[in-house]
Amino acid sequence: MKRGIFKKRISRSVGGDITLLIFLLFFVAVMMLPLVYAVNMSLKPANELWLFPPKFFAINPTFKNYIELFRLISDSLVPISRYIFNTFLITIAGTGGHIILASMAAYSLSKYRFPGSVLVFKMIRTSLMFSGAVLAVPNYLVMSALGLIDSYLSIIIPAFGSTLGLFLMKQFMDQMIPDELLRSAEIDGASDWVKFWKIVMPIVKPAWLTLMIFSVNSLWNKGATPYIYTESKKTLFYALSQITSGGLARAGVGAAISIIMIAFPLLVFIVSQSNIIETMATSGMKE
């Protein structure tokens, strides 16, 4: 059994491998249900949406819902391209800035002990546990004090300081960066920026690729915020969800929207996952 599906190791039995694979496939099938359902809904003609008894799969699949969606979009007051631009701007700027700032801070907190470092990290970790639901009013006060109301920056800058990313990056640097590596780079005369950018960041690539998914997904799906009121600065998700608020009659169109909205994050996700695993294959050793 040299060429089994699983990497051959002494600790593995063939029976165990097969059981696990079957278990995995079953799990995948269950997990995929809602997505398959949404795809089917988006392909159902109107008379099939509310059949009794309900049918899971579309009988006469059609692209009518997508065509209807494009018709509704082209009617909108602000051109849809503007919403798409807004969403891309927010997603790319917010994600890029967050990864860089959070990684820089995580590098300091993970690899050095200095007055305040432990306290700052504990504060960041603990703050994850405070419910965001009551922060709307205080946040509004901060935003208006800084003059960020009704600007893209009201979404982008808070995204820079998101807590999840720092916590994630710090944990991975704890795991993946041996202190000796940094010390020997220091002896070679590497500056702090070189150490961070040329040594630390390439090693923790799986971490920031993972963080990229979280950040892209949350920013891409940003809906209406109380901080932006100009119509032409609003997001794609907001614009599309206005369409679904048409109620049951637009259930098919709603499903088409959810399929279209998932496309970009899905692409980012696939690219990042294949790179995470590639990283392992090419630079699998530490030091």
């Binding site: 995948v28 700032l101 546990m129």
Partner: protein
């Protein structure tokens, strides 16, 4: 205690062993800290941009909100300081709060550990697969998490009339005569919520575990095999888990915030308020007061309590995770 003895304790209390007073030691400590701080100037520079934003958009709002918990604040008029009155009201006067506190703890205790285990187990199994298959299965498993409204399908599946999938199936097979009101009957609501939450547990922790397992050096496994690791369970416990401890701790915090913060799944299934508050949680309770009734002071007090509960459970979970690999 008289002022004289007080002075004594301050000035002449000496640390055991060396003859230096506490004040002297504190001075030394401070100057030591100051030196260390000067030495780490660059680290402060690296930290500063993130930290400034974090303080402005997280620390300040959280502190303000905790402060509002001691006030009566309806958003329109300036807050009125009322001391601990909100907290007395919560525990003495608000039966729904007690109910939602119990529900929150119940949901967290059931879904937190199980969801965490599912995510860890699945990530570990994925890691056994060859490259291409691993990418495909990871994508298939996580893709549903990319769509926001996953609860919609469950709402239709468990729908109370005959067009709900489950009711339609059971009716067709003759197992029931009338459609069951799954999402209105408290006996069904709680298990359904738990099921849907667990279904969605392959989220943030799952991906961080996968990436963490990528950072484990294969050499450890070979070394382990020589040292007498006999099966995959031993390998998991003694080699893999200790090596991904940073990710385990990360996942634990995410699990805690997730399982104590269950809210939108419930409203997605049952509407704003479930029958007899049978699935009401603290998050829903504070949303109810914060966004519907505009009692921000009261809502902030609930948020502060929820925060304390989570911080407490994080300490417990931390202690448990320290035992991994022993």
């Amino acid at each position: 205690m008289t002022s004289q003895t007080l002075n004594q304790t301050n000035d002449q209390l000496t640390a055991p062993g060396n003859g230096i007073s506490i004040r002297e030691r504190m001075k030394r400590d401070l100057s030591h800290q100051w030196k260390s701080a000067k030495k780490h100037k660059v680290q402060y520079l690296f930290l500063a941009p993130y930290l400034i934003i974090f303080i402005l958009f997280t620390v300040v709002p959280v502190v303000l909100s905790i402060g509002l918990g001691f006030t009566d604040f309806n958003v329109l008029e300036p807050p009125d300081f009322v001391g601990l009155q909100n907290y007395f009201r919560l525990f003495l006067d608000d039966k729904i709060f007690i109910k939602s506190l119990a529900n929150t703890i119940m949901f967290a205790v059931v879904t937190g550990p199980i969801g965490y285990m599912i995510a860890l187990l699945m990530a570990w199994l994925m890691n056994e697969l060859p490259k291409s298959l691993r990418v495909i299965i990871t994508v298939l498993l996580y893709a549903p998490s990319l769509t926001g409204g996953m609860t919609v399908i469950f709402k239709i599946f468990f729908s109370s009339d005959a067009t709900g999938y489950l009711n339609a199936m059971l009716l067709k097979w003759g197992l029931i005569n009338d459609p069951i009101k799954y999402l209105e009957n408290p006996d069904y609501i709680v298990p359904i919520v738990i099921f849907v939450v667990l279904w969605g547990s392959l989220g943030t922790q799952f991906l961080s575990f996968i990436a963490g397992l990528q950072g484990v050096d294969r050499q450890y496994y070979d070394a382990g095999a020589i040292d007498g690791i006999r099966n995959r369970w031993q390998e998991l416990w003694f080699i893999t888990l200790p090596l991904i401890k940073p990710q385990l701790l990360f996942g634990a915090v995410i699990s805690i915030t997730g399982s104590f913060g269950i809210g939108s799944i419930i409203t997605g299934l049952t509407g704003t308020i479930s029958t007899d508050y049978s699935a009401h949680t603290l998050v829903l309770h504070l949303q109810d007061y914060g966004t519907t009734r505009f009692e921000m002071g009261y809502a902030s007090a609930i948020a502060t309590l929820l925060f304390l509960v989570m911080v407490g459970s994080n300490i417990v979970v931390h202690k448990l995770l320290e035992k991994v690999g022993e």
